[in-house]
Amino acid sequence: MKPLDPRLLRHARAARAFLAAAVAFGLVTTGLVVAQAVLLARILAGAFDGQGVAALTSAFALLLAVAAGRALAEYGGEAMALRAAGAVKSRLRLMLVEHVLRSGPGAVRPGEAATLATRGLDALDPYFARYLPQLVLACLTPTAVLAVVAGADLLSAIVIAATVPLIPVFMILVGLHTKARTERQWTLLERLGGHFLDVVQGLPTLKVFGRARAQAAVIREVTAGHRRATLRTLRVAFLSALVLELLSTLAVALVAVEVGLRLLGGGMPYETALLVLLLAPEAYLPLRNVGAQFHASMEGVTAAGRVFEVLESGPSEPPARPVAAPGIDDARVSLDRVTVRYPGRDRPALSDVSLEVEPGERLVVVGPSGAGKSTLLAVLLRLVEPTEGRTGFGHVPAEQWRRRVAWVPQDPYLFAGSVADNIRLGDPDASDDAVRRAARLAGADEFIRRLPDGYDTPIGERGSRLSSGQRQRIALARAFLRDAPLLLLDEPTAHLDGESAAAVRAAVERLMEGRTVVLVTHDHSWTRGADRVAEIDGGRLTVHRPLAVAS
């Protein structure tokens, strides 16, 4: 995993500015670290030679100033990092939302994407506030310390110069060695970890069969097995930390002994020896800190990487420009040998489909689940572009085409907002009267008025729960309000129980009146009102006359 994703710098201007500022703050901090060591050595050596507080006043004053400076640099650096993280998160979030709203969710699952855009990106906070500044310091401070120590005592500088590079080298070596082993164990660990959740979810079943009590012992056993397996992994995984720790403390010990012995022989002044001793640990500290924050911060990199993956997947359709579009005065639907393939699937979702639906005609497409019904509707809605073949509306900008389409999905989404707002999705500028009229036509008015605040009742994720039949009728109200010449319906009565299904069916009949209709369903009873019936199976479409008439 790269410590810094170049795409982050390319896409987020705030990230570039931040990196520059982090280097500046790093330089200041490094300077202050060295200054603090110099002043401490000066004071201690001065006191050793019998100087009192009065004689060392200026050194003490400077030391106080250095302490204040370091605190300010720390404070300013982190505040700036958090602001930069906020700006970068905002940028990535909006890019993600815009992408999904332009080209459809595609391969991303909505729930996953929403988590990514909100909580997932929060992992960038520690990445910016802790990891990147430490990374900068890990490059700057050892170099500066080495330069200062070399000026004071070459032999110590050689010890440090020989050991500091060993830290990243060993981290990588041990990491590579343990990675394979850890990954092999990972599947086992994941399975053992999932056992508890599986048992808890199955509790009602276990209880029915009188097996609930016996499972407590199994949980204890499996958790103990999980512990033993994890510790086997950790014994190896912690080796990298051991090596790191050993290298840095042993190097400091080596320097201390070596300097002490030369001091004893009179080969070196006390102040220099102290300076070397004080600076030596500072050469290793930032490297250790980077190591400690590596894993936590990689979550941020992973989240950002996932955003870029989504952004780079799927066609990014440029925003529609209003163009005069000829030939869509009537709601004619025509497909000419259309094939749709989704990436990563062997079989096409639609295969060589040709279809003409005349204005005012009702086409019912029946077929089992997975036959390509939803893909057919997605093509008509312009959510999916054909991989091969032509459509009669391909020359019209998608936005403009959709203005002539009303859609009733199988599982309509209700947005956080009032009932009226949700119906207004069909026409944002509709008056209250128009909304009510649409709801009445959809058979929704009665239940809406029974809700606590009628049309102003909040619904959606955090609002009142509506039954599937009620949700379906809200979707129908949207379609009535839309009043578009072409109507697309996806399984309008699936998953509804008796009475809801009857109400929805009646409303659908009203809605279809006088419009061009394409209705897809696995419920053959819909074919009764159709002008033509098509069957779809395995992505292939066959058009018939209505079944009842043909028989």
């Binding site: 605190a71 999904v100 009590r213 640990p281 009857a502």
Partner: protein, 599 residues
Amino acid sequence: MTAIPRIAHRAPLLRLLALARPMRGRLLVAALAGAATTAAGIALLGVSGFLIARAAEHPNVTALTIAVVAVRALGVGRGVLRYAERLISHDVAFRVMGDVRVRIYRALARIAPAGLRDLRSGDLLTRLVADVDTTQDLFVRGVLPPAAAALAGGAAVGACAFLLAPAAGALAAGLLAAGAVVPLCSVVIARRAAQRAAAARGRLTTLVVDAFSGAPDLIAFGAAERALASVAAADRELTRQTRRNAFALALGSGLCTAVTGLTVWAVLLLGVAAVEDGDLGRVPLAVLALTALAAFEAVAPLPAAAARLAETGSSARRITGVLDAPDPVREPSRPLPPPDRPVTVRLRGVRARYGPDEPWALDGVDLDLEPGRRVALVGPSGAGKSTVAALLLRFLDAQAGTITLNGRDLTAYAADDVRAVIGGCPQDPHVFDSTLRENLRLARPGADEADLRAAADAARLLPWIESLPQGWDTPVGAHGARVSGGERQRLALARALLADPALLILDEPTAHLDPPTRVALTTDLLRATRGRTTLLITHDLAGLDAVDEIVVLDRGRVVQRGTHAALLRQDGLYRRLWAEQHNPWEDRPGEEQSASRSS
């Protein structure tokens, strides 16, 4: 460090910590190992200071021998100690988690499934399991570091007290400020900042979820640009809040650094003055200064630990909530002996609900279940059908009316004894992440191969199982992901038949299946239950002419009862439901064709 749990939600967090009491010996060892690691680091610098300062006095080489050996030993020791400490602390954290898992499991087993109704929705149960798993992190990152820091910091202060008491006082004050006061203040500031931003964050999350989940709807209705604009506006508001909060959040880091610098400065000032006055030697001064400088390493992990403890508050609340949940059913103190087979069950005027503020799920229901008879309980969703199953399985107590089993009150038997004679498949039967054999054998652990085959055969599962390459040992995957919906329901049916309860309850055995699979399964289960005392709960009316009695529930009341033929003759809910499921257009082709729009 005892001050840390005071942050908020004292009781739940303390109770969560108290769950680890059986492990306190191991926890102490882990804390000591952590303290020894840190102390080794502090001592390394302190002894090095002694070595160099003493060397500057040019004594005999032997005077330094011990110091040289000590420095080298500490250099190696620190790394080894750290390694040991990490292994010990992870081991104990896992042991604590194991204990907590068992405790939580027992609590959940006590209240399931009626007490879990709140957890069913969404991923709340998954989150509870994650909460339990965070207890290991709580100890490794939240509890042990403060304990180790207190020990190591105390040792450093003690060592300094030997050299110069006022300096030790300054160091103690500095460590306390940097290790406890500043982290706790930071947590409070961070929480305030989070609260200030909470509204903006919540609004943004809602809009983002809406935009992603509703993307097809938004695009189809040309509302995508509007949705994007409202996300952008909510995002601007949140980013504005973040910018305002950044300075408050960074205050903690700045203050810690300031306290460190100031303390070292003060110790040095006191030390130099003491040397000047002859109260302190030149060599001890170096030891004092370097020890003070290194001592702040002990408190470095504490801001993260404080944040961790504060975060765990809500997890702890959810966990203690489960531990404290009231029993959904009363167990008799002196239960009757287990009931004999066959069983007769009678409900008279039964009313039941899931909570004092909830509507009545059953509102005066009478029902007779006699040996050898099959009764179907039907009605629209929400009519209270599954509540009857919950009562009979002793998952829930009736609030009024009586339920008798063989003439005695149902609640006078031990619940486990009741479930030994009344069983079947619950709604949404769980398929465990194991093999087909284990999933079936769960119903009767002592069953032999012939029993398993017979049960699978009765549920028409046997040909499918035998066609699989791994046969009975085929893994079904997490949540039965590798079996189809129909196979899953047949597995549940086979399980119920294998358990062979005296009263068999089948709760929506054909839910979530497509019509052909539903018809096939209904046929098979009616055949398999012939002659058994059965309560079939369903909203699917196909095939019910085979059962002895049909009871129609609506809004918690019995509205009709009788045979299929009798009910179809009456005008009522049953006939309406039947008509809806058996669409007239399918049943009576040719009728109303004049209304067809075909040309």
